[in-house]
Symmetry: C2
Subunit: 337 residues, 2 copies
């Protein structure tokens, strides 16, 4: 049951290697009868082509790279499903690379991609990424790249995002309508565009509703769960503690709830909470969580579709363009009863 190569397959068939290769690739040069024979024998001898040889010769890998900060996250894992659904249809493989929110990892991964490992890239940048030369370099090198969710504004390519400003605005307005007047905003990065857009939406809503901005309500979280928990706890322990919280990212949900519980704060009575989150369990939390639900699967799917358009049409190139798929505010128990 050892694996055979095309040469041995050709030998068995009394055909040349080139004929077999063409038959396997359904070339018009080969007769139907021969194709049938080749396919039949290939199946019988359990022939599986070596993808590296094909990639080397064909100068394309049939792989797309997906670079994301983290896989243990509902948004990203759902986005992967969206991406994969398209890739599979196109006969491509998905190479998932994790940066773990580290800029250095991100740069290393993209650098490696220059060697030809992938034909195109879908990228959601790390929270540390402030400067984008490593991305521009890759594009200049001829690799098509599409951002999804977390983009760099000064890179000339397409991005798929959600309406971060508007949805943060909606979330904030919702809290205000629920009588919150001291609303905290939990950010995960000072540089990330989505984080900043969400922050701006929050600020705009405060302004529109004539609520004064208080810097002590704007918390910049880190990538350390324990530290974030302490930060949030501290926020909720000050004398003018907030009566509303917007968490700009899913992973802050648990520390926020934990902090409220530790401090015996009742949600939504004492504090109301909205999270940007795709958690399936949002509906069964204690209390159920009001969320901004992002169209994760759709975003992944759209990003992949766009990337493949660039891969398939050599005369179609990715221009700087925004595709915005709206999020949904789902009101649940953490902001009402």
């Amino acid at each position: 049951m050892k694996n055979i190569n095309i040469r041995e397959l050709a030998l068995e068939l009394n055909l040349s290697v080139s004929t077999v290769s063409k038959a396997l690739n359904d070339s018009y040069e080969i007769s139907e009868e021969t194709k049938r024979r080749v396919l039949e024998t290939a199946a019988r001898l359990n022939y599986v082509p070596n993808p590296y040889a094909s990639s080397l010769r064909g100068r394309k890998s049939k792989n797309i790279g997906v670079v994301i900060p983290e896989v243990a996250d509902s948004f990203f894992s759902l986005a992967i499903n969206g991406i994969e659904s398209v890739a599979k249809e196109k006969g491509y493989h998905v190479l998932i690379c994790l940066t773990h929110e580290s800029f250095e990892n991100e740069r290393t991964i993209l650098k490696e991609f220059q060697g030809g490992r992938v034909d195109g890239v879908l990228l959601s940048v790390s929270r540390e990424t402030t400067q984008c030369n490593h991305i521009s370099d890759l594009i200049a090198n001829g690799l098509p790249l599409v951002f999804f969710d977390r983009a760099c504004d000064n890179v000339e390519t397409a991005k798929i995002t959600t309406d971060d400003f508007e949805s943060a605005y909606k979330a904030t307005a919702h809290l205000i309508q629920q009588n919150c007047d001291q609303i905290a905003f939990l950010s995960i990065s000072k540089s990330l565009s989505i984080s900043n857009k969400r922050l701006e939406g929050y600020l705009q809503a405060l302004s529109d509703y004539q609520i004064k901005v208080d810097q002590k309500y704007i918390i910049h979280c880190s990538n350390d769960a324990e530290q974030n928990y302490l930060l949030i706890k501290k926020l909720l322990q000050q004398k003018n503690k907030p009566n509303g919280i917007i968490a700009s990212v899913e992973k802050l949900t648990t520390p926020v709830y934990m902090a409220c519980e530790a401090l015996k704060l009742k949600v939504p009575k004492d504090v109301k909470i909205v999270c940007f989150s795709n958690l399936e369990t949002a509906a069964i939390l204690n209390p159920s969580l009001t969320t901004i639900t992002q169209p994760a699967f759709e975003m992944g799917k759209t990003a992949a579709t766009l990337l493949f358009r660039a891969l398939e049409n050599r005369n179609f190139s990715l221009i700087k363009e925004d595709f915005i798929i709206p999020s949904t505010l789902v009101v649940r128990g953490s902001t009402s009863h």
Copy 2:
């Protein structure tokens, strides 16, 4: 900024291709001075080696394949992190392939691996997998493979699992001690070994505590979320409805909670619930969820470590062997107050 190959690099350096290759691979044949020059020029010209050329020539891909049913699942995404932590250290890449619980997908993926795409495989089989020839074939072909979590019993290789029988037993005993006498067990597959071992642990506990087994309390769920919800709802609507539920897999958590809420059943008063789950949000559910928490990261890490031992030592081969890492019963609000 176009990518260059080793030939052009050699030309620039006035060296032969072989010398450059050896220098890049830190061969003892090359002087320190030359290595320095090569490395410096390679960096300056932004040389990135083509991985497919290396793989083809070296007959190894520096990739390991991870085949799992689903990525949008806490257990698997944490396991991926464990696997990746080892792979990264060894300079390997992780190729994540999703079966979406389909046997056909699983077979196709493993078949492709025979072409040499990966040097080794970590596999958690789909819920549909009852027959394992596609796996044995792969191993017979020379590819080392380690199971993690979901294994096939009749394949000659190592497996990393958790103590499914014992933890299901513990969960059941815990429910009994909390005065449950009508305990339902939610399975996801009739063939999956983990599902069956958990079922056996449940049955053994019932037997040891002299509780009669009632087949109507053993529910075989499907892969369809909506259908599972209806199934569970039906379970909870019968006249002798259970007062305890064990969900053998994380994804059943939400439908169970939803069904209880829809039927106005109080947890834990009317029904007590235990889930096999790695959900980070278990502690903040309504009520907080008693879980069997699997050592997901550890299992991934151990499986990867074992696989690499087989990859690195040609005289070490994977024998049929069980490595069992225990799960933890974490008692929370869904089974007590």
